[in-house]
């Protein structure tokens, strides 16, 4: 048992996560903690997690193209994939929240001053629950790239923000999904803050002809692997 605990502790840290300070991303300079982090021992406090991840969602929450009276402009896409734990097991009935810019690269947010048009038919926020196989699916439009003033001529590659809970406090993840072949990758310090190129690949969706629907929408596949495993197998205590 002690040995197993050790293995789990070693496997839990996601070494691919960026360290907090990445000076090229200017906002990290005054927000990244400088004191060493304290390794938190596994207890019920973090091997349990919010039931909010299982909260009900509305019927149109997973279709960002049908939340208004008309259809949004842009390239209609389907984004789908599996949410898995560190052992490759599906994370079922778990909340996935997304938000994104519209096709012109503009967010419906009062602080977004990019002079690109807002789309009255697009809010850019969605949520859904994973199904029994850990699968989520959204219909939306492909977001545009947008400028962000981090440095001269700074543009974010097109991306969709993803928020996931998983089974425990430990597995909470907020990340961004990118689109394949974006020429802005090499110029984007947020994307580059993940140092390992293999890890960066895990944030890039793949074009998927099977998901693509004829005469209607392109399909992109994006699987998400959360850290760690479910600490206490639920079955053991039922």
């Amino acid at each position: 048992m002690a040995q197993r605990k050790g293995e789990e502790a070693a496997g839990y840290r996601c070494e691919d996560d960026p360290s907090y300070l990445y000076p090229d991303y200017v906002a990290t300079r005054l927000r990244a903690p400088k004191k060493p982090l304290i390794i938190l021992p596994r207890t019920l406090s973090d091997t349990t997690g919010p039931a909010y991840g299982r909260s009900p969602v509305g019927e149109l929450d997973d279709d960002l193209t049908r939340q208004h009276s008309g259809e949004p402009l842009g390239e209609r896409i389907i984004v789908t994939g599996l949410v898995l734990d560190g052992d490759g097991r599906p994370v079922r009935d778990s909340l996935v929240e997304i938000w994104q810019a519209n096709a012109a690269g503009r967010y419906t947010h009062h602080l977004d001053q990019h002079p690109a048009p807002l789309d009255p038919n697009f809010s850019g926020a969605g949520r859904c629950l994973t199904d029994g196989e850990g699968r989520y699916r959204f219909v939306t439009v492909k977001p545009g790239a947008y400028p962000w003033k981090n440095h001269d001529n700074a543009w974010r590659p097109a991306h969709i923000h993803f928020s996931l809970f998983g089974p425990a406090f430990r597995s909470r993840l907020i990340t961004q999904m990118y689109f394949p072949g974006d020429p802005l990758f090499e110029h984007d310090p947020i994307f580059q803050s993940v140092r390992d190129p293999k890890s960066r690949q895990r944030m890039i969706s793949t074009f998927d002809l099977e998901t693509t629907q004829p005469e209607w929408a392109l399909g992109y596949r994006f699987d998400i692997v959360l850290e760690g495993r479910e600490a206490t197998p639920i079955e053991n205590h039922r």
Partner: protein, 188 residues
């Protein structure tokens, strides 16, 4: 796609409509007799407030039971209306707040007992991954003194950053991301 965990990325500045469209900062009804208010301000390394952060909390109920299937201690009651989860944005003054109850003691490792505490995640533009910290309670001096997690922090000043301050009204738990008074943060 390569195997391995999906890396974290910043929440960015534009999450409000998606994540804060409903108020999740009150975990109990406002007339709950045991309700406590916890407030705090988030500061950056220059001492400026952070007005675009999101704070999430996760805690046990007053009996010390987590509303989650992995908490197998069925002898402790669950409160039907208490999920133990809360979410609050920071406002223009960098302030977040929660209305909740004080959690009970929960088990630590190897038969130890942890002092009442609340798990905290901080997300913000400029944070490439969330920051994890804990709120402990000022009226639990004895339990805090032997808490197995607080005891991991040798630096007394750093340890004190995890204990909320009793200022007569709401408990205050300020979070300093960086600098001399930096809050203690955890990793897994």
């Amino acid at each position: 796609m390569s195997p391995g965990p999906t890396p974290s990325q910043t929440i960015g500045p534009f999450f409000h409509d998606a994540l804060l469209d409903r108020d999740r900062s009150e975990l109990i009804s406002p007339d709950h007799p045991e309700g406590i208010k916890i407030k705090g301000t988030i500061y950056d390394g220059a001492g400026e407030v952070v007005p675009d952060a999101m704070v999430e909390i996760w805690q046990a109920n007053r009996a010390g039971r987590y509303n989650h299937p992995a908490d197998y201690r069925k002898e402790l009651s669950l409160d039907e209306d208490f999920s133990g989860f809360g979410r609050s944005g920071t406002d223009a003054r960098g302030e977040f707040s929660f209305l909740t109850v004080k959690p009970g003691h929960v088990p630590g490792q190897e038969g130890s007992l942890q002092a009442p505490h609340i798990m905290v995640s901080v997300f913000a533009r400029g944070l490439l991954e969330r920051l994890v910290t804990r709120i402990y309670f000022p009226d639990e001096e004895e339990a805090n003194a032997v808490d197995p997690v607080l005891s991991l922090i040798e630096d007394q000043e750093l340890r004190r950053t995890l204990i909320a301050r009793d200022e007569g009204g709401p408990l205050r738990f300020d979070i300093h991301l960086q600098g001399d008074g930096q809050t203690a943060f955890f990793e897994f």
